[in-house]
Symmetry: C2
Subunit: 271 residues, 2 copies
Amino acid sequence: MHSSTLPDPVRSNPPDHPAHPDAAGQPVAAIHLQDLHALRQACSGCNLRELCLPVGLNGEELMHLDTLVQTRRTLPRGEALYRSGDAFHALYAVRAGFFKTCVGAEDGRDQVTGFQMAGELLGFDGIATGHHACDAVALEDSQVCVIPFEQLEALSRQFAALQHQMHKVMSREIVREHGVMLLLGSMRAEERLAAFLLNLTQRLAARGFSGTALVLRMTRAEIGSYLGLTLETVSRAFSKFQDDGVLEVKQREVRVLDEAGLRRLANSSAC
Amino acid sequence: MHSSTLPDPVRSNPPDHPAHPDAAGQPVAAIHLQDLHALRQACSGCNLRELCLPVGLNGEELMHLDTLVQTRRTLPRGEALYRSGDAFHALYAVRAGFFKTCVGAEDGRDQVTGFQMAGELLGFDGIATGHHACDAVALEDSQVCVIPFEQLEALSRQFAALQHQMHKVMSREIVREHGVMLLLGSMRAEERLAAFLLNLTQRLAARGFSGTALVLRMTRAEIGSYLGLTLETVSRAFSKFQDDGVLEVKQREVRVLDEAGLRRLANSSAC
DNA sequence: CGGTAAGTTGAAAAATCTCAATCACGGTGG
DNA sequence: CCACCGTGATTGAGATTTTTCAACTTACCG
């Protein structure tokens, strides 16, 4: 990534790995850029609406949401969307790009708690205290939709569907974190990496990308932090998977050669 | 624990370790049992209301909440409040007793994701899919208030304070899990146990109990599962802390002799 | 091109786990 | 009342996994 130009919202994918046949014909249909601009890039016209906050809303509800989500913010790679301690005012929907969230201990240690891609929401950590409890950093040039939280609460008092969708998204985040705890607490290094890659490919596939070819947006160190491993251990696991013919790894480009094998690796309780 | 009798809501504490002076005079004032019964054990009369869902609600709001929270459920030790896969209908507020939540992988592995004490809420994992994503099990004879979720959503559309409180509780859970991820991902065994104990004593202190003497409601294996360690490692860490004069450990009874020392142990990045 | 950040690989050290033996405690039944 | 049983806890010793430290390679950017 070298410039800040942000073309089609759905991005952060392998530009040189065209979507596979099995990923074609997904619900995320192509929308002409002109249309998007005509709609002032509103939720109702966003091709991410089936993955994002608008899921399950009817036309009227969507229209109200459009009026609420008026601001976007563009971030170059490396910039923080918010930092721990910042006052909380809004949630953010990733429109394009890729983020990481990380918490830091007083002693400087820090831990990546998640990676967010297009259509995913950021910022829930701030509701509890009114101040963000972690950092959110763009891992590539990115754009988010700003969702002012007070207004969102007000609107979700009017519309049960929006309210429920919000609860679902937060609940999903809690469940996701349960999964990470399981991973961190009871898997060994290779299982963790396999589970991580499967999760990534699944989410990419849900966005219409190939489920087998991906470009990692994060460093080995960031993967390691997320998985509770050192970057060396992550690197070794990648090499091992490549030797075993499960993956083809070329720096950040990864191709899954044997998905079933990867799946097996992710829960090999019989070590 | 041998019977199912559940006296005062605030329990699950060391009956033989009276509250220390530093814990006295806490907001959780004593309420006579007759009063409780007169109020039909409603939220408005519950001595946990400053820790539980009712935080920040005014009289009218509290009254409405009372009409919603009509059912209680009593569980003997070992019984599940809900299991993974169960249909989700309600949230639960721990009224008395102590719970653990755990997720299980397909391969049988499982991981304790949290311990819940009086005033804490359970069940948010079920909102995402309409089915619970983890088990919640009573670690001692316990009682919960059943909060029907649809009705709670309806009421929180009426009252912004309730709505916001709900969002805060869910956000707090997300932030808590971030903390657990930090612990699991970047702390070593003794740091994990120290952090765990500090968290427990803090929460007990917030309930008016001694911050120095506690009785663990869970086994070493359960602590280990939560902390991503084996029960032997947990046991060794306890012994080490005892040898170092930081704790006095007698099976499940723990006394913190040197809180500052424990705090130091919890973030000794300088290994 | 050269410098820098990222990634790989090796070997030794350290932490944790595993397996096994033993101990403590709280019921239970004789 | 006490011996016994089963669960939970402790401790030790060796095996295993992961980390640490260090050297080296690769890719990218100006």
